[in-house]
Every structure is written in C-alpha cells, then in structure tokens.
Symmetry: C4
C-alpha cells in the first residue's frame, strides 16, 4: 500500500534540511538528532514504568506528569516535523513507524479527556518500539536483516515444530489432569496444559507440581522431552544462520570498493582474481562489489 518515504521535492529549502535531520543518518546533524531521540525515547519509557510504581507515584507524581508532558510535546513537534518534510504525508502516516510515532503522543492527550484510563499505559509503553526507528538507520540494520532472513527462511520448520509442541502439551496436559487432579493444582485441562508448557519449556515456576509417583514419572518424561527438544529450534536456526551468513558475506558488513572489485568480505583484501571464491589470505568469502 505505502511506498517508500521520500524527501519532499518542492517547497522551501528548510523542508529538505528538516528531512535530513529527522530521517537521514549520514549527516552530522542527523546523527546528533538520533542520539537525542534515543535518549528521549528511553527516558519517556522509564517515566511510564516508574509511573506504575505506587511509592514513586505518590512521592514524585507531579514530576513524572511534567516529564510526560515535556516528552509528549517534543514527540509532537517531531511528528509534525516528519509530516512536513516528507513528500507524501499519507504514506508516512500509514507506515509502521508513522503509526508508532502517532501512538507515542496520543495517549497523553487522551488522558485529558478520559482520566484514569488504565489501558492507555500499554499504548504509552509501545513507545519503546521507536527505539527501532533509530536503529533502523544505522549499522545494526545489516545484522538485523541477516537474523530476520534466517528466521524467515526457517518459518515453515518453526511452524511445524510449534504445532508439534502444542499438540504434545495438549495431550500431556490432559494426562496430568487425569493423573493428578484438582488436589495437586491441576484444576482443569487448560491449567494442566499451561503447566505442561511451563514444564516442557524448562521454565518451571513451581506454582503447580505433581505429587503422585505416576505424575512425577510423567513430569520426568516431559522435562526430558523439553530438555532434548530445545535442540530442534536451535538446529533449525543454526542451519539457516550458516546459510544466511554465507549469503551475506560473513561479516554482514559490505566491504568498501567500487563496482566490479573482488573484495574479501572478511579481511577486505582486494587483489583477487575475477573467478576467486575464497580469499587467498584468510579463507573468507570473496564477493563482487555491486551498485545497490
């Protein structure tokens, strides 16, 4: 639906400068803004969190309210600036980060109209997602992409694994419900399935535990299953990560060079033959620089 968000092409020159500061990361002012924004995001999330601690709320409630409004005003100015500096306001407003940016400021204004609405706290906490807006622009992007690609490539296997796990906990949980019964805390099948998940994932809260020998024996089997089965997602992701790392050139950082150069992705040595596949010096993958 929404295409790429691009710089406003016409209008006064400050719109382009504003775009550089707000959206770009390769200028000095853009980088300074990123650091300021990161600090503001983290501080504003901290305010939301501390706001929920009763003892702090009672003592410093006014201070937290003031900080909340300062951040809201700042984020509102930022949102207005982003709206003003992009080519298509609609595209930005409907993009993922456009919505997150809006959600970061709306709850505080809404709290004037609907005081005491407790569920607004969740929307306020969603601000933490804005951290990825800053990260999106920097070096972490390449790494995140490699991780995301590895996860995406193994999604069918992960779904198969998840369905198998869910089937197992439903059956094993029902068995425990029959064996242990309400006296030991296994009050219903859903609760017993919850317990089976707690046990199979090796979390082990201990709020519900088997008391009978047969229940403990079944628990032992579930625990050993969970202990061994963790190898499956790990194996899936490891395999994909090896392929993703190989495909990306293993350091995830594209070495510098001009189009057509054969450069080692690991040690960045550049004098390789046109048909070289592995670096003469370090054995890393040789990749051909291409124009993006």
């Amino acid at each position: 639906m929404a295409g790429p968000i691009s710089r406003a092409q016409n209008g006064p020159p400050w719109r382009g400068q504003l775009y550089n500061i707000l959206f770009e990361t390769d200028t000095r002012s853009g980088r300074v803004f990123d650091v300021v924004l990161m600090v503001a995001i983290l501080a504003s999330v901290l305010v939301v969190m501390l706001d929920s601690v009763e003892s702090i709320m009672l003592r410093h409630g006014l201070l937290l309210l003031a900080a909340e409004w300062v951040f809201t005003v700042l984020f509102t100015l930022e949102y207005a600036g982003r709206l003003a500096s992009v080519e298509s306001k609609r595209r930005y407003a409907l993009s993922f980060f456009g919505i997150v940016d809006l959600l970061a400021i709306i709850p505080t204004y809404l709290s004037l109209l609907l005081p005491g609405t407790r569920f607004l706290v969740i929307i306020r906490v969603l601000r933490v997602l804005r951290v990825f807006r800053v990260l999106k622009l920097v070096r972490y992007l390449g790494e995140a992409r490699t991780l995301a690609r590895a996860m995406a490539a193994s999604r069918y296997r992960i779904i198969v694994f998840l369905i198998t796990v869910l089937t197992m906990v439903v059956i094993l949980g029902s068995f425990m419900y029959l064996i242990e019964g309400p006296d030991a805390g296994f009050t219903s099948i859903p609760v017993s399935v919850y317990w089976a998940v707690v046990t199979l994932t090796t979390v082990g809260f201990g709020d519900i535990t088997p008391n009978t020998p047969v229940g403990q024996l079944l628990a032992v089997i579930i625990m050993l299953l969970g202990y061994g089965m963790i190898a499956v997602p790990t194996g899936i992701v490891s395999v994909e990560m090896v392929y993703a790392a190989r495909a990306a050139g293993r350091t995830g950082v594209v070495p510098p060079g001009t189009a057509g150069d054969m450069v080692c992705s690991s040690c960045r040595a550049a004098e390789h033959d046109p048909d070289a596949r592995f670096c003469k010096t370090c054995g890393g993958t040789v990749i051909e620089i291409m124009l993006e």
Copy 2:
C-alpha cells in the same frame, strides 16, 4: 500390514469426487474442506478443554454438550465418507489416521453408555492429532520430513545421551537422598531422582530444594552439568540438520533462472548436467528451477 490408501476404483462417480474432497489437497474443494476440518478439529478440542473448567461447565455445560454432539456427528459423517471413498476399507480403518479418526468419535457415543467415565477425556483430547491429518497434505510435509529425518539419523546418539542422563540422575539423586534426607523433601530415592531430573533439565520447580551446604554444592554441580550438557542434543541435532538440509536441497534462496535450468543454490552457477546434484564449482546443492 496396511498398504497405501488409494481412491476407490469402481462404483458410482461420487465416490471418486468424495475421495478428492476428503483426501486430496490439490483441488479447490479439497483445500476448502481442509480449512473447515482444521477449524472443526481445533474448536472440538477447545470444547473438551473448556468442559474441564468447573466454572464454565456449570454455566455453559449444555452449550458445550451440544457443541460436542455437533462435532461428533460431523466427524462421524466424515469417517463414513472416508470409509466409503477408499478402495480398501480395512486398510484405511487400520491405518494410523484411520484409528485417530475413529477415536475422535467413539468417546462421545461411549459416554451415553458409561456416563461420568472420566478417562474418556483423554481419548477425546487425542482428536488434536487430527491436526496432522490436515498438515500431512500440504507444504509442511516436506519440512516435517526433513526434521523427522534429522531426528531419525541421530537416534542412536540420542539414546546414548538419554541413557547417560538417566544413569547420572539415578546416581546423583541417590547422593542427594543421603545428603539431604527426608527433612528437606528428599523423602525417597525415586523422589530424589525426580528432583535431579528437575534440576539437570534446568526446569527447577522449587518444590524440593537443598538446605545443607553439601547438598547445595552438589546441586550447583548438577545445575552446571545440565547447563553444559544441553549442548549435546543441540550439537547432535544441528549436525544432522545440516546434513538433512544439504540432502534436501536448500530452498532458502531460490536462484533466478527459467524452468528446467539446473542452478546452484549457493553460487548460482548454471551450467550443470541434468543429473547433477551438487555444484561442480562450490559443492552447493544444485536445484532445478520449477514454475510455482
């Protein structure tokens, strides 16, 4: 014993059409049926689970009973349809899914004869296995096969690992029984072995915990063992998964090309023989481009 389940060869044409809907997945009606069946299976399992929650049972018991009968009648019709549309009724009835299909409907009828039989709930829950009937027919099959092959290839190593773990928990559990004794909850060797499994698998319920310094020291050793030993099944499965993925042809990144081309999935070299399986240049998997 039972061979493959195949379409009825003679009889009226509706038998073939019924087979297509119930067993095949490459027709529109077959795919629609799969979705409907999946929803019905999940809903019927949900009914069984909610049925065990006392508060829901008391308020909506009649509704749940009605839903249970609706699903049972539907599954009975489905079972009759499957029986009617296959070539060999005996083969289908004795196949794994034939038995699961039957177990999905029997408990409800039995509950008329044997009211209040609590253990029927387990058989009713086994319906969840029917989820795999739907999955069996679709794209997840290939992934499940890769996973299953990786598990099967490493079965001897997993058995060796399991025997080692069981030997360890028996010996370590007995030591804890001697060190801690009944006062700390280690009332017998079987219970202490149960605790050793809880600890070694890093589940850690906390229903039984060591109190003495020596017991805590031994617990520390067991925990570190469990933390480190989880690497063993993970390593086993990872290795097998690398081999299984290599053997299955990696589909993570499909190389470009036209239908019929033999292209390396790793280096994208294209000039391979029609029967080539591995790339001449880089050893990667050669795959044949197919139209989706």
Copy 3:
C-alpha cells in the same frame, strides 16, 4: 596398568565357552545373556530405589529383601564366572568394570555385618553403571565414541568457559549478598553464589528471590547473561561434533567393503575414483576402507 581383558588360553574348554557368553556379543548365547543381564541390572536398581520408599518398604520389605538377595547371588555367580574365564584375573579385577561388578555385590554381604548402614545404598545404586557394560558391547559404542571424542576435543574450551562462569557467579553472588542481605534469603556469600548458579543456569528454583528493585535489576542481568551464555557450550560442542562426524564418516557406521575400496560413508555407493572426496550420488564423504 591393566591391559586388555582376554580369553583364558588354557584350561578346560568350558572356560572359553563361558568367556563367549559373558564377554562376547557376536554369538547367540552372548546376545541372550546381554538381554538377561540388562533386565537383571535394571530390576536390581529398581529394588534399591523402591527400598527407600517408606510406604513400600513397610508393606513389601521382605519381598524386596528376597529380590535383593536373588540378584546378589546371580551377580556373584556372574562375577565368579568372569573371574574364571579371563586370562588374567588381576587385570579383570582391577579394570573399571571389574570394580563396578564387585561393588554390585559387596554391599549386600556387608549389610549382614553392618546392619542399617545407610550409605551402602549409594554403592548399591552404582550398579546402574553396569548398564554401560552391556552397551559397551553393541552398536551404541560407535556413537558414544563420537560423542566422547567431541567432548574430549573441546575440553580446554569447556574448562575456560566453566572458570569464567564460576568467576562470574562468585562476583555476582557477592553483589547480591550486599544488595539483598539476609532478609531476602541471601544469608551468606556461599548461599548467594548458589542462588547465582540457580539463576545463571536458568534453573530458577525460587527458594530465594530478590525483593529490592536493585536486586531484581541485577537478577535480570544475570538471567539475560545465562540465557545468552548457554550459546557458548552449545557452539563449542556443535563445532566439535561437526568435525567428529566428518572424521568418523558421518553415519558413525563404517560401510562394508574390502581394504582399498572407496565407499561413500552416507549412501554406501562404492564405484568412486581413487581421488574422490565427495560422493557423486549423494555428496557424502567418500572414505577408503582400511583394515582395523
């Protein structure tokens, strides 16, 4: 000290036959004996375990005592037979399994002299180690050897990892002792270090938990460390397992063939060139059959 245990060379022929039954696995009688021995070992360990359950002991004490003596007599006869059928009695008696075999029978005789000696239970439980005597002779040996080689090859890395973990829990445990103090259960540094191990290894008993915000923050850091650091032993063992699998020919089962043959370790295809390294058909490792 002790060399290989070999068949008695002289004496009456029954000594050789006895050796075949007790030590060999490639004869029918040897295999039958292995199965009988395995059942006897597991049953005798079960007797020791049930013996410690007070309710069972009170009701079936006499039965368990009788079973214990039956197994002890059987194992004594077996030990005598092994002693009689080997070339060097001293070598066998001082070998690992010779000592385990002896420890399996001594405690019961000692219990006549020293009734009520509770620590004998541990020696009796050590019988479970005899399971490996049976396994030693069969197909699992190759797999166990691959696992053991992978562990041995990575022992220095595992030691470095273990020292790092121990250093961390000592320092982090001491911090928690200062932060939380005796009121929250952190009564001393050793107990706090025990808690740090419980937390870092993701066991999480919950017998001791932080109450203060600073303590919970440090606990969060320890938990994230433990969650991430588990990747280290896993990575170490995975790497070694890949190498061990490669070195062993990946299936762990040496394919049949005569010396000098080039055989695929995976699909067992045999018509490879003398310089082939990877199988033409399946891409598996081609190995040269050598005389052991």
Copy 4:
C-alpha cells in the same frame, strides 16, 4: 595508554630473575609460582566467602582473620615484587591486572581504618579475577582467544538480539501488569518486566505467577517465545565459532608429519607452499607441524 609490560632492562640481576618467576610461565620456577599463586587466590576467596557465613564466623572468626592477613601480606609482597621487576612501574600499576592486584590487598588495610565497612567484601571478592592472571599465561589462552573472537565477531548481532528481547519484555511485562494486576504480584510495570525476563529466559522462579486464564495464555506465549528464541544466540555463536575454529586451525586431530611440514588438518594432504593457510584440495586449514 599503557603499553606492554616488559622486564626491567637495568638494575641488579635479581630483578630479571624475579620477573621470570612472577610473569613468565616457561621456566620451572615460574610454573611452580603459578601453582602456588592459584592455590593462594582460591584459598583467599574461600576465606572471604566463609567469613560471610554467620555460624562459621562466630566459631572460627579469629582463624579466618589470621588467614586473611597472611594472604594479604603474601599478595602485598607479590605486588611489591611485580612493581620492582617491571620496566615501567606506571604501566604495570595502571594495567588491568595491576589494578586487580592492588584491589586484592587494599580492602584488608582499609578495614583497619574503617572497621565494619560491609561493601569492602565485594572488593575482596574481586580477587577471584586474579585467577585469569594465572590462566593468561598458559595453554588456555588460545582457547579463550578463540571464544573471545567468536563473541566479538557476533557482537552486533548479539546487541540487536538483546534490544529485541528488552523491547519484548517491556511490552509483554506491561500487558501482564494490565491483565494480572497487583493481586497476583504484578505490582508495577518494572516488577512485571522483571517477571517477563524471568519467564522469557526460562528461569521461572515462581515468586510471581499468573492466576487468570488470559494471563496464563500470555505466559504460555512468552514461554514458547523464550524456548524458541534461545536458538538465536546459539545460532549466532555457533556460526561464529565455526568460522573462528576454521581461522584458528583446528587442533582436534593433529595430522602426522615431521616438524616443518605444512599439512592439511582436514584431508592430510602435505604438499603445500610454506605460506599456505588453506588446503588446495579441500579448503581445510593448513597447519605447520611443530615439536611439542
């Protein structure tokens, strides 16, 4: 800032001999000193730990105090010796181990001036870091370097992973705070985020557990996420470890050969150039055979 710590070039010959003992590991006296130092470090840390156990403190307080002073005097002499035997006293004093060496002795002297200062215990415990001083000099260094390199190479991915995990626990913890509320122990967002970390990392203390069906459902999702996501750091580190092991030359199986030969560690081909790093035939690591 501080360059390498080197032997004092001038002055009486005992300074060079002292340097050999204190800093070198390839002389007999240096190795003996390492063992003595390791024992002293571990014993002194044990004294600090036992000192915090009230029952031991009450009974053996004087003995522990005496031991503490003995170790402090020994470590003071060692520190003076190190200062005397190095070329640049300033470089040593400001190096990491120089500071750790100083921190090992200061607290005991400070305790004379500031009796009862409880936080000195942490500085005393930091002595345990001196263990790495001894390890630094021996064979474990190479392994530690491989591990450290693998961790360093994957630091950006680990940071991306950590930020994702922290974002998730903040959002999921806030949801749990809304769903469960103070009655179930979720008294504030920070506490709920702490619970989310406890659950996602599969630690599962059980000090706070969800009571409502919706809360348990969300807990199930968090647990399955944590169970599956552990594959991500494991995959990251495994991949890097494969590369690090490849780059470092695998020493698992040393190929046969005479000193000076360049032999492939994987296929054992021997005819490599003196500057070859990777095998011409199989791409394995070429290593030079050295006399041990």
